[in-house]
Symmetry: C2
Subunit: 133 residues, 2 copies
């Protein structure tokens, strides 16, 4: 097992090159993913919508995640009222491109992790109705 010079790009995995670790550094933690999931599949938009999720994200975490996602071009915000200014958050094209990614992940989990079960389409639809106009 020649342990001498390996391939120069063996650095896949450090933060700058490997697409896998890069992606998961960005969206791979629990809270970020919940936010994106709720935007993508349920249609949530406002700060309070995310806070209301049964998982109970706290405000500072939510704030920080929204900022990170915005900074990385996954979401954008747009004011929907002034005085005081309030923002709606929505996915950019980049963010929407995550849909097949999430579905692939969820699909694997549904099949291979026991006890895992997403909401039915009917439940999804009902949830979505609460947030989309």
């Amino acid at each position: 097992m020649s342990k001498d010079k390996k391939i120069s790009t063996s650095e896949c995995g450090n933060r700058s090159t490997c697409p896998l670790t890069n992606t998961l550094d960005l969206i791979g933690d629990k809270w970020t993913l919940l936010v994106i999931r709720d935007m993508l599949f349920i249609g949530k938009k406002q700060f309070g919508d995310f806070l209301d999720s049964p998982e109970g994200i706290s405000t500072n975490i939510l704030t920080e995640r929204l900022k990170r996602l915005e900074k990385n071009g996954v979401i954008e915000k747009r004011p929907y009222q002034k005085n005081p200014v309030r923002y709606e958050y929505f996915l950019t094209n980049t963010g929407n491109a995550l849909k097949p990614v999430l579905m692939e992940i969820a699909g694997w989990g549904s099949v291979h992790i026991e006890g895992t079960k997403g909401p039915t389409k009917k439940e999804l639809e009902a949830m979505r109705k609460q947030y989309t106009q």
Copy 2:
């Protein structure tokens, strides 16, 4: 010891468990993913192979991740020598089913995260040769 994992609080929507968060609770952290990536795309099998990764996983972390993956049916181990017993680790069908998942994630990262670049096919092939017989 067996200090339980944080798999506890991932409730999705209703009381049913969310396949997204479940999956990422299992494989979503940095080190677990690197192990799976190396098995899946490079063909690494042995403890030392993973240790040699340029990211520098430490032995206790590696041990813990391998155990968790085995416990969850993603990998299995098989002794390849006795006295002392040494194990090879390999993906189960469940584990192999992660391939499209990882590729989807990596695909998104390649396109949407700047500066992200995986190894070329040629480099991948070269890496693989070191570990597969």
